[in-house]
């Protein structure tokens, strides 16, 4: 029999970012025993990267703000492909989750009367983002980490799960390896919460870390779960493009919020040429008005640089494509006109980032930027109330789940998403665990996975996992990034299928103890499958909507306006299905119509 260590919990949580840790708290408060598994050290998850803030209609800045406006903004941002019930729960519970975080120990920036200060962000009608300077994500994860430790959980750091264990249509645990010594570990959970985050490493320009390889998405897919909206990847319009080592690293929206201007190689402020009719009435008409907006938001309209992320990203793409790009293939983002003192005070971390890592003094010189992969809107279909997926006993929350953001996510909604649905998933999982026991361990599944894991160490010559990753990133960048066509997607798919065949022959040197090459071998398989799912769904959606831009189908389509794409493993084939978007009930429809 195979050798491995086994751990048993009422609730197993996979992922220790914001969603996973909030799920731990939820499950602990219901009295469940909880084990949490994380690929990194505790507190290093991608949540720390979030800068802007956490959106919640607290109404601390404008009393008029309430859950209904937040609901409307989120549905509009998502181009109405969102699940209305998910958004309703989210908007209603967001304020309570933020206030509770404060009682766990988070210290948000304050208003003059001592309440949580909130900042403006794209797509939100009111100032709504609770924040701590430009490190809100760190505040959130550290707070949840400390509180979860206080409530008691067993943490398995630097442990990677590679396969969900199933008993019929129920998920009962997971198997994987410890990074430190390479040993195999099996976790049995009466209920399992998947909070494994997003995926973006399959693109060349990405703000995602090594962790975002799509393991969670693909593990769930392989186990038979239904996935939805995977064609929608969010591209942040301004990633660093130079120097090479910094490629993809985010330049916060705050730079544009503080008056940063986008220019092409002709020195032209091109965003004025890319204002869609839909946004014309709320966008500044002249550079003068745009400049005044920074200090007087009441009497002036927003600069075109602050149009929604998908609009700005496309404009940058077009400028570069049409030959007006910067030296290194991006465009210029210039904030130097605001002066040294202002920039150092308002954008200290950006000033530092560019000066020390890019040799660029942003108080004097423009930055070079290009869109970078940022966030995955799609993921596991989950019940809005309980977060239970299409598989019994498997609950999903955070970026790996879907339904909240639809076709495009509003900045600030993801941090709150972690809190609202992390809690619900944890509580529902704990309740599920009171009704169910531990079925016997499925030895065959464990042995199969160990065979997949160990193959790259079997010796001899073979493919290098990093070469395959690089080829994949090239193909996804070219074929399935911001601008897509039938042809570009087909080309990407052909490459992916060819790489999948090569990936079977991956070989790496060394032994399993902290061996990044060996870890990369398994990650590569996840990256290939998740890429295939993205591309197949993108081929299916023959329209342009939200972050999904088809050059060959440039307009929105009536059929696709009312359908999500659901992907599921069917025997050994991929089943792709258009499923009607749930009808919004009359009382919520009224809210949507109120503001339009």
């Amino acid at each position: 029999m195979a050798k491995y260590e086994t751990f048993e919990y009422d609730v197993l949580v996979i992922g220790a970012g914001g969603a996973g840790l909030r799920a731990v708290i939820g499950a602990r408060e219901k009295g469940a025993s909880v084990g949490v598994v994380t690929k990194s050290l505790l507190g290093k998850a991608h949540t720390v990267m979030a800068e802007g803030g956490a959106a919640a209609a607290l109404g601390n800045m404008e009393r008029e703000d309430n859950w209904k406006v937040h609901f409307r903004d989120t549905m509009r941002g998502g181009k109405f492909l969102n699940n209305w019930r998910t958004v309703e729960i989210f908007a209603k519970e967001a304020p309570e989750r933020i206030l509770e975080l404060e009682r766990y120990g988070a210290v948000f920036d304050r208003t003059s009367n001592g309440l949580i200060s909130q900042r403006a962000f794209g797509g939100h009608a009111y100032r709504r983002l609770a924040h701590v300077g430009d490190r809100t994500g760190l505040e959130l994860i550290r707070t949840l980490q400390d509180h979860a430790v206080r409530l008691g959980m067993e943490v398995h750091m630097e442990t990677t799960m590679t396969r969900l264990l199933t008993d019929g249509d129920r998920v009962i645990g997971a198997v994987g390896y410890r990074r430190t010594d390479g040993s195999i570990v099996v976790f049995r959970g009466k209920a399992v919460v998947l909070a494994s985050g997003g995926w973006g490493r399959m693109y060349r320009f990405t703000s995602n870390s090594w962790e975002s390889t799509g393991d969670g998405l693909v593990m769930a897919y392989e186990a038979g779960a239904e996935l939805m909206d995977v064609e929608f990847m969010q591209f942040h319009p301004t990633g660093m493009i130079w120097p090479p080592g910094m490629r993809g690293v985010l330049v916060t929206e705050g730079v544009r919020g503080e008056g940063g201007i986008l220019r092409n190689s002709n020195g032209e402020r091109f965003m004025f040429n890319h204002v869609p009719d839909f946004y014309r009435a709320e966008t500044a008409e002249t550079p003068e008005e745009a400049a005044r907006w920074v200090d007087d938001k009441k009497n002036n309209r927003r600069p075109p640089e602050l149009l929604p992320r998908d609009v700005v990203a496309r404009a940058i793409y077009k400028e570069v494509k049409e030959g007006r790009g910067s030296e290194h293939g991006g465009v210029y983002l210039d904030v130097s006109h605001k002066g040294e003192a202002y920039i150092k005070k308002k954008l200290p971390s950006m000033y530092d980032q560019f000066l020390h890592l890019g040799d660029i003094d942003i108080t004097r010189q423009p930055m070079e930027v290009y869109p970078t992969v940022h966030y995955a809107m799609g993921g596991l279909r989950a019940d809005p109330d309980s977060c239970e997926t299409s598989l019994r006993g498997l609950f999903a929350c955070g970026e790996v789940a879907c339904g909240l953001h639809g076709a495009n996510r509003l900045g600030g909604n993801s941090l709150t998403d972690l809190l609202v649905f992390g809690r619900r998933a944890g509580e529902a999982a704990a309740e599920f665990a009171t009704r169910e026991g531990h079925p016997p361990t499925p030895e065959v599944q464990i042995e199969e996975e160990m065979e997949v894991l160990m193959r790259p160490l079997s010796g001899g010559d073979g493919e290098n996992p990093y070469d395959i990753q690089t080829a994949l990133q090239e193909a996804m960048q070219e074929g399935a990034m911001i601008a897509r066509t039938e042809e570009s997607l087909r080309n990407a798919l052909d490459t992916i299928l060819a790489l999948q065949r090569r990936a079977a022959e991956i070989r790496v040197p060394g032994d399993p103890a902290f061996n990044p090459g060996w870890n990369a071998a398994r990650d590569t398989l996840f990256m290939l499958t998740s890429s295939e799912l993205i591309v197949r769904a993108a081929l299916e959606r023959k329209e342009s909507r939200g972050s999904h831009w088809r050059l060959d189908y440039p307009s929105e389509d009536e059929f696709w306006a009312k359908h999500n794409i659901v992907v599921r493993k069917d025997a050994d084939d991929i089943s792709i299905q258009a499923r009607p978007v749930p009808e919004v009930p009359a009382e919520l429809k009224a809210i949507l119509e109120e503001g339009s």
Partner: protein
């Protein structure tokens, strides 16, 4: 023509090790973490190194470059002398797991013992009221990314290996962030003195020097904690009051 550099990297575990030289081509703006990634891709994929965000926000890639503890993602290659190999070693203060990765679990164990934020109205759902000026200092401490560079340079932990005596600068900052929270009502003085061992620190300020978040660890955190302990335990007036009041 492309320039090359040589990195002399520690290879091994806690028991035995050696260094291995790798030559890599540089590119503009290259940081040491980039060079490590080139080694993994082109020379030896089994070279172990922790990293996550590559943007100095997560604090995973701490190591010692040419003897100086720092974040690999923030250490520019072109800022280092090129006439000899660049040495890259794991943090000295913690046991090595493999190559550049060390076992930092002690820090998490110490953190577990610290009592978290404690409010007078525990259980209430009312919004907290605090002025910005009153939370500025706490927010400075909460910038900590847990890179443990302060822990690795602290001579009590590094040279004397007295993790049994002192929790180290990182946990002092955590304690300070709680003690200075305007609404916290817990009394951690005894814990800070006896368990966390604040008295052992003799203020060499090495921790402040290496902090990538520029937290004034000693001046703003540790010294006020020392003062708090001194007020509680060594101030004769306080002592008398406690004696009269019958408290410990």
């Amino acid at each position: 023509m492309a320039k090359t550099i040589t990195l002399r990297v520690y290879r091994g575990d806690g028991e035995s090790g050696r260094t291995q030289d790798f030559t890599v081509e540089t590119f503009p703006g290259m940081v040491v973490l980039d060079a490590i990634h080139v080694i993994q891709k082109e020379h030896d994929p089994s070279l172990a190194c922790r990293w996550n965000c590559k943007a100095a926000k997560c604090g995973s890639c701490s190591a010692e470059v040419n003897g100086m503890p720092g974040l690999l993602c923030k250490t520019r290659v072109d800022a280092l002398p090129t006439d000899k190999p660049i040495t890259v070693y794991p943090l000295k203060t913690f046991p090595v797991v493999k190559d550049l990765v060390c076992d930092v679990s002690w820090n998490f164990e110490a953190a577990k013992q610290i009592q978290g934020l404690t409010l007078a109205d525990e259980g209430s759902k009312e919004p907290l009221r605090m002025q910005q000026i009153d939370v500025d200092r706490v927010q400075e401490f909460r910038k900590c990314i847990e890179c443990f560079l302060c822990q690795t340079v602290c001579h009590i932990l590094r040279d004397n290996d007295r993790k049994d005596l002192f929790f180290g600068p990182r946990q002092m900052i955590r304690l300070a962030s709680l003690e200075m929270h305007p609404l916290d009502v817990a009394d951690r003085a005894e814990f800070i003195k006896d368990t966390a061992g604040v008295g052992v620190c003799n203020i060499t300020k090495c921790c402040t020097e290496v902090c990538p978040e520029h937290i004034k660890i000693t001046d703003n955190g540790i010294i006020p904690l020392k003062e708090r302990v001194a007020d509680t335990y060594f101030d004769p007036v306080q002592k008398l009051l406690r004696w009269v009041g019958g408290r410990k």
